[in-house]
């Protein structure tokens, strides 16, 4: 690195070397921005600082297929738009924020030319399932009615309230019938839930894919409540019109319009602590910001070991942070410019309109064996993954006439056999071949593959390609995310809060960590909470959390 030159006097006025805010938020990803937007509107002077030149974190839209084609390298399937409190509280549509949630949601194209399509509308989904099993079709209708209730009444509202310790949660869930159903399903693994509920291997395979594609271990027990959530959500995804970055931009506009600041290209190197209380942050260029409140949306190791420093942690916290587990697999994504929309070689042309299409899928056993390989660092001679042609529902991503933009994404290990430097080219070929086999019309005008190593390089606290900042397993979820000391977003260090995907309830642009942290900080700082809990969240709190000290 060449030493950077500073002239003896500055000809252009610049952001000051030292400045003071009420709160500094580290990381301008979805959660940092959501927290910032609520607190700025509450009258706090907030500054969100971001290492990258562009805000958004996983809410990224980048010109990967340069020039003139824009892709969403991280979040594209927005799964909680209909539940997320900030959407309504902040009125983000006034900034032109738009989501498209097509009926044709998640398809699978099988090698034998058949297809299955999960739609937003349940009867359409049942129609498709009935091609394989009348029984599964009927079961799906019955089960989804129950699962949607689980989501609406329990899982979704709990996403926007602080976590509850396991014993308290069990006690409160046992009060209602639906609560008891949740407890029952929680103790089963995704494979058990899916294979015991449905009989057709194809139906099983796609629902298992939908349940586990975001990192739930298919055979682990203890997180079974997420299966209804993820199956329901795979039928309710939305695409952010103009690219996922628009959501970050809308949140940032709220912050700035309410007197807050957003500072990009500003890597934080130190969280300053005096007498057990945070006093501010230091950035890599030597500039500092004083603040009595610091909120970190980064992963726990970066926050506590790198920025806070071990000397400020007690042994238990330090041990738990060091023991943080990254994710069991990451993603490898090949983005491509296509000369036309994919036309899948299959029995139902409606599949061509699906938001997401799984290719390479056959049976649950085959899927499990592919995932086992990935967990062991192997990608063999064929892949299973999901494809999306992004320009079907968002034509603004490419203005080049006749060019469509899409990607095929597979689960992939960070430590791949042979290393990504040597494997990227052949994995890309596998991916493109698999895609073309399913959709023979495809012609790839340009392609670029982003490996798990690339994910970490673009966004360093997605360590080892961990898109949710850390694994989803029973010991890292609920009140254990990131650990019992910090899952409420308060930490043992006064004035320091955590609010990223590594904090309860987790990642995937659900907005929970940022929203909960904003509530907690607003209470601690004694500022006016101008918002109120959505009715469906308040109802859950009143039914299940009345014994717990939550505002």
């Amino acid at each position: 690195m060449t030493a950077e030159y500073r002239p003896p006097e500055l000809p252009v006025p610049e952001w000051p070397d030292s400045i003071s805010y009420d709160a500094v938020i580290i990381g301008a990803g979805p959660n940092g921005l959501i927290a910032g937007a609520y607190l700025a509107k509450a009258g706090m002077k907030v500054c969100v600082v971001e290492r990258r030149y562009e805000i958004g974190g996983g809410l990224a839209t980048e010109e990967i297929l340069f020039p003139g084609h824009y892709s969403n390298p991280h979040a594209i399937y927005h799964m909680m738009v209909d539940y997320m409190p900030p959407m309504r509280d902040l009125g983000l549509d006034k900034h032109g924020l738009n989501f498209v949630s097509p009926n044709a949601q998640t398809a699978a194209v099988f090698d034998d030319g058949t297809s299955l399509l999960l739609c937003r509308m349940i009867e359409d989904t049942k129609d498709s399932i009935a091609k394989f099993s009348e029984k599964d079709s009927a079961t799906f209708g019955r089960v989804m009615r129950k699962w949607r209730r689980l989501v609406q009444e329990l899982v979704a509202p709990a996403t926007y309230l602080p976590p509850v310790a396991p014993l308290d949660l069990i006690e409160s869930m046992e009060r209602t019938e639906i609560g008891r159903e949740l407890l029952e399903i929680t103790e089963r693994s995704p494979v058990e839930i899916i294979t015991e509920t449905f009989e057709s291997p194809k139906v099983q395979a796609l629902l298992l894919y939908a349940s586990c594609m975001w990192g739930l271990d298919p055979t682990d027990t203890g997180l079974g409540f997420m299966v209804p959530l993820l199956v329901d959500r795979t039928m309710n995804k939305a695409q952010c019109f103009g690219g996922s970055h628009r959501m970050a931009a809308a949140l940032a506009r709220e912050i700035v319009q309410n007197g807050g600041s957003v500072l990009d290209t500003a890597e934080v190197v130190d969280i300053r602590i005096e007498g057990g209380h945070v006093t501010g942050i230091l950035m890599e260029d030597g500039k500092s910001i004083d603040a009595g409140i610091v909120m970190s949306s980064l992963d726990p190791q970066t926050t506590f070991l790198k920025l806070v420093g071990e000397e400020h942690l007690d042994t238990a916290l330090s041990q738990s942070v060091k023991g943080w587990e990254w994710e069991k697999w990451s993603f490898c994504t090949t983005h491509a410019v296509l000369d036309g929309r994919p036309e899948y070689d299959t029995d139902d042309p409606w599949v061509n309109e699906a938001f997401m299409t799984v290719v390479g899928l056959s049976t649950p056993e085959d899927l499990l064996s592919f995932w086992d390989g990935v967990k062991a660092g192997r990608i063999g001679d064929r892949v299973i993954g999901h494809a999306t042609c992004e320009t079907i529902y968002d034509p603004t991503l490419s203005k080049v006439p006749g060019h469509e933009v899409g990607f095929l994404q597979i689960h992939a290990p960070y430590d791949i056999d042979g290393g990504w430097d040597t494997r990227t080219a052949d994995v890309q070929e596998l991916i493109l071949n698999q895609w073309k086999k399913a959709a023979p019309n495809l012609d790839f005008l340009q392609a670029h593959t982003e490996t798990p190593v690339d994910i970490e390089r673009r966004i360093p606290n997605m360590k080892r390609g961990s898109i949710k900042h850390g694994d989803y397993n029973a010991l890292q979820m609920g009140s254990f995310r990131p650990n019992e000391d910090c899952s409420s977003s308060r930490t043992p260090i006064e004035g320091l809060y955590v609010c990223g995907a590594s904090t309860y309830p987790g990642g995937l642009i659900i907005g929970g960590p940022g929203y909960i942290a904003a509530n907690v900080v607003a209470e601690d700082a004694g500022v006016d909470k101008w918002w109120k809990l959505p009715d469906y969240v308040a109802r859950y709190r009143d039914t299940y959390m009345d014994l717990i000290d939550i505002d």
């Binding site: 690195m1 060449t2 950077e4 030159y5 500073r6 002239p7 003896p8 500055l10 000809p11 252009v12 006025p13 610049e14 952001w15 000051p16 030149y53 562009e54 839209t61 980048e62 010109e63 990967i64 297929l65 340069f66 020039p67 003139g68 824009y70 549509d93 006034k94 900034h95 032109g96 738009n98 019109f241 103009g242 690219g243 970055h245 628009r246 931009a249 506009r253 700035v256 319009q257 007197g259 600041s261 957003v262 500072l263 990009d264 290209t265 500003a266 890597e267 260029d285 034509p395 603004t396 991503l397 203005k399 080049v400 006439p401 670029h448 982003e450 690339d454 994910i455 390089r457 673009r458």
Partner: protein
């Protein structure tokens, strides 16, 4: 969403956003409608490869002397600089080099000229020493002042900007300066062809070719604009756009992207608002403007598409159509590499002694270095190919001054450019440049390797390219793929830009104003078009100046008066 504002601005590029910041900070309600996914226009960055940030377009800060830096208080919105240690390096075809220096290093830089010409080294140091203390006035009188009224009866020597240059130089500027080309002026001042070529290449790639008559002040000026702060916004040009946008938004501006405008609504000869196009993020809307509609879109699209020929006469439309798109259709290369170029021979010694410059200009031999390619591009209107035509070749090296632009152990050279004919003018048709895209890439890389033999093999990790044709699609306002939109030549400069009747930013349609680089003083992200337009909006009674506003002391109102009292004049 609100549908009524004081001002509606079509286009959220650099100029539209700057005006939005000025107007909203002045207390007016403002709505900006941008058709692309992101605001900023030319102020953009891309990260096609994780961790590597390229400049697809503008790359350097020319706006150091802009009143907007102070008036809009961009520092409050995060503005920071990355400074070049040396302004730039001239490289000769026999592998020798010299530096041009900035206001703190020009004396040291002049010594690198001494081996080429004792006389030029002294003149360079003397000239820079003279200019820098007066530079803000020189630049503001030239760029940050509206063009004088086109019918003003005044001798050139009495024009405010001419007086400023003359006073600053103590009368040392040759007479050719105000009438001639950069070639005329540099030939009078200097003897070393390489120094002249460096100024010429720098000026050409800043929008004014050295042979264009009457453009010496602009050509010299663009070189000086660059020297004023000599560096780039930290993180890349898009962070400069962020600072401007956040100033506008903090003062209440509504900034909507993905909202292409279908037409400007004109009733009784007045612009009343705009209608959004199908598929815009805020579809189905007519957005009304109580005070004015401002088109921050190029002049041709403004009148041909947004206003429509029925509202202006055929004579006017012909003049709009005839505006020249030449003069900035750039083919741009972006190289991701492991090592910076290691130049051959004495050139590398200069680098080792003075540090890597922010940019390298090649070949700095003589005027032929430039005119050869100009002939290909402007006269023969063909894609220049072959080693003798594929120059000059300016190379920007952002990782030498901003470590955030690539991971440790890597560098980016971005942009590296050559000029091509605008696609519409190409004798072989608009797709001709794209057909040669790979060949040009190879030839540019060969030339780079010829200068720095390490620029080959494993050292080059990835190469990206965009052609003027590509730019037409990705940059909504870039007709012709011209970075300056329309030629910065005397026929289209000062009171002639873009046309005499449009030069004061007003249009034949009442309450419709222009705020794009097709108006004076053109491109380079100077925050100047908006600043200049503010004078006119104040003169027209559309805007009441706020207490932080200060006008250009050189502004001449329509009546030929100096600055009126309302603007702080005497």
């Amino acid at each position: 969403m609100d549908s009524r504002y004081d001002f509606v601005i079509v286009g959220g590029g650099h100029n539209g956003m700057t005006l939005a910041a000025y107007l909203s900070k002045s207390g007016y309600s403002v709505c900006v409608l941008e058709s692309r996914l992101e605001i900023g226009g030319a102020q953009e960055n891309a990260e096609p490869r994780p961790g590597f940030r390229i400049d697809p377009h503008a790359s350097v800060l020319y706006a150091g002397a802009a009143p907007g830096m102070e008036q809009l208080e961009l520092w409050k919105y995060g503005y920071r600089m990355s400074y070049w240690s040396q302004y730039g390096m001239g490289l000769t075809s026999d592998n020798r080099a010299f530096m041009s220096g900035n206001r703190w290093t020009y004396k040291e830089a002049a010594e690198t000229l001494r081996p080429f010409s004792e006389r030029d080294a002294d003149i360079w140091a003397g000239m820079m020493g003279f200019i820098f203390p007066h530079l803000k006035d020189i630049l503001r009188s030239t760029f940050w002042t509206p063009p004088y009224p086109v019918d003003l009866d005044v001798e050139q020597k009495d024009l405010p900007w001419v007086k400023t240059w003359n006073e600053a130089s103590g009368g040392a500027l040759p007479a050719s300066f105000f009438e001639g080309s950069l070639v005329d002026v540099a030939d009078e001042l200097f003897e070393f062809g390489g120094l002249k070529a460096m100024m010429g290449i720098g000026a050409w790639y800043s929008g004014a070719a050295p042979t264009w008559d009457g453009m010496a002040p602009q050509a010299m000026g663009s070189f000086l604009l660059n020297s004023y702060a000599s560096g780039a916004p930290k993180g890349g040009m898009h962070t400069y756009a962020h600072a401007i946008a956040r100033c506008a938004i903090a003062h209440g501006a509504r900034v909507l992207v993905n909202c292409p405008v279908e037409e400007i609504v004109i009733q009784d000869g007045r612009a009343r608002g705009v209608v959004l196009a199908d598929g815009s993020a805020a579809a189905g809307k007519t957005i009304w403007a109580d005070k004015a509609v401002v088109s921050a879109v190029d002049v041709q699209q403004t009148f041909e598409n947004l206003v429509g020929p029925k509202h202006v006469g055929p004579g006017f439309m012909q003049n709009v159509k005839d505006i020249s798109l030449k003069g900035g259709s750039l083919y741009v290369l972006h190289v991701v590499c492991r090592e910076l170029p290691k130049f051959i021979g004495q050139a590398q010694e200069v680098v080792d002694q003075h540090g890597y410059p922010g940019s390298v200009l090649y070949p700095c031999d003589d005027w032929d270095s430039i005119t050869k390619q100009m002939r290909e591009v402007y006269s023969r209107k063909k894609t220049p190919t072959g080693p003798e035509n594929i120059a000059p070749l300016p190379v920007l090296m952002p990782t030498t001054y901003d470590h955030t632009r690539a991971p440790d152990g890597y560098h980016v050279l971005s942009p590296i450019y050559i000029e091509l004919p605008p696609p519409e003018y190409h004798v072989d048709g608009p797709e001709a440049d794209n057909a040669l895209k790979e060949q040009i890439k190879r030839e540019m890389l060969d030339m780079l390797e010829g200068l720095a033999p390490n620029m080959t093999g494993d050292n080059i990790v990835e190469v990206y390219a965009n052609t003027p044709r590509d730019s037409e699609f990705r940059n909504a306002g870039l007709v012709g793929g011209n970075w300056y939109a329309t030629r910065h030549c005397e026929d289209q400069w000062w009171t002639q830009r873009p046309l005499p009747e449009l030069s004061r930013y007003r249009t034949p349609v009442e309450d419709l104003y222009l705020c794009h680089q097709t108006s004076f003083p053109g491109g380079l992200c100077l925050m100047a078009v908006a600043y200049n337009l503010m004078h006119i909006l104040i003169d027209d009674g559309k805007v009441e100046p706020a207490d932080w506003w200060y006008p250009s002391p050189w502004h001449i109102t329509d009546e030929g008066n100096r600055v009126p009292a309302s603007q702080g004049g005497k």
